[in-house]
Symmetry: C2
Subunit: 232 residues, 2 copies
């Protein structure tokens, strides 16, 4: 029997990366899920990633610890206030304070290293160019440039073997389309987590950009959000 | 008085990156030195980096801890034997077991994040295409691809401000030329460290690829190597 193809999947615990893991598993890959403990303010994010990896049958789940807080510069690692109840038109027009400098570049670099060690050629990341509040490292031209660089960085490239592909199956989907895709594949969104500013008990705030986008997505998909919110 | 330009400099504790830091300081930059504790087998590497940063007047020296050992795949982090007394012609013809998968990609990604937070546009790395034993991520085409990707990854790129430059001042120099450059700038090579397999007391082995290349470099530069070796 032929060995299954291996894929490295970046997994945050949010609904986007959970959907990606669902897509990867439905595609017949052995999934190697990679998460990061990077000085996030909220432990619940990684707890969700562990639940998602288990629920969707990842072959391995590796959590890399990196101290992005030492570098600073983001509301997700520093003590900068997370904006609440912003108008949707404001969200996409500027880079938000929740942007973590070069985060996807760092995450994809570790994914590249792991792929090389595993002999995997496929890396999956749940970036989204429509709903993602204007982060520069979620755009297609950025992903293409990373893939090009990756194919000059590895043994495979030097030795003429086939190269690395960075897959972004969600990049052109709306949040509602992402949710509909995941629901068809049986992704259990009750174990995912999206909030930038949860309560001490782990309830989502319902008011940060990420909660607002998620709630709008479920409304558009015509499905109930199984998550508990602070304000119903 | 105008503020000095800031530069992020990758600093390993070896002679190449020490020379780069000397070049950066001579160029009038404020230097922000970045080192990594990445599961190296040898503590002496980081001790050397600290001494070099201090000796050459870095404004700040940040040591990021990352667990590359969890990913595996290299003699520098795993228990794979370091080759000794290899013929020089063998060194360049294959990728050595001391190659760490995607290491420079990971290191440059953190440098990019720090540069973005500092408002620095210049990143320096001491890669070398001639003497570096055929690592794929030391080649000029790789560095160019990283720079291109970096300029799509950052706030500056999105907001139309000027971009990131990856400087590789050593890329076309022989080891002897690197050493001559550093000596002219007053770099103290006695605090640097190059050996892949030092003794428990921190003495260089004199037989691994890195020691052989270093010793040949000093011989070619007509200068004595101030380092202590296990075998003289």
């Amino acid at each position: 029997m032929a060995e299954k193809k291996k894929a490295v999947v970046l997994l945050s615990g949010g609904l986007d990366s959970a959907t990606v893991l669902g897509i990867v598993r439905a595609g017949g890959y052995e999934a190697y899920a990679l998460s990061f403990k990077y000085g996030q303010r909220h432990r619940i994010e990684l707890e969700s990633a562990c639940k998602v990896a288990k629920a969707l049958g990842a072959s391995k789940h590796l959590i890399m610890q990196i101290d992005l807080g030492a570098i600073g510069g983001s509301a997700l690692t520093d003590n900068i206030a997370v904006p609440k109840n912003r108008d949707e038109r404001t969200m996409g027009s500027e880079i938000p304070v929740t942007y973590v400098p070069a985060r996807n570049t760092i995450f994809l670099s570790f994914a590249l290293a792991w792929a090389e060690v595993l002999g995997a050629e496929d890396i999956f990341i749940g970036v989204n160019a429509l709903d993602y509040s204007g982060y520069p490292d979620c755009r297609p031209e950025y992903i293409e440039a990373f893939e090009r660089m990756a194919n000059l960085a590895t043994r495979a490239a030097v030795e003429g073997r086939s190269g690395i592909r960075i897959h972004t199956p969600l990049i052109k989907l709306t949040k509602s389309e992402i949710i509909r895709t995941g629901l068809k594949l049986g992704v259990d969104y009750s174990v995912t987590h999206s909030c930038y500013d949860p309560t001490a008990e782990g309830l989502a705030c319902g008011a940060c950009d990420s909660c607002l986008i998620r709630l709008r997505g479920f409304a558009g998909a015509g499905a109930p959000d199984p998550l508990k919110y602070q304000r119903a």
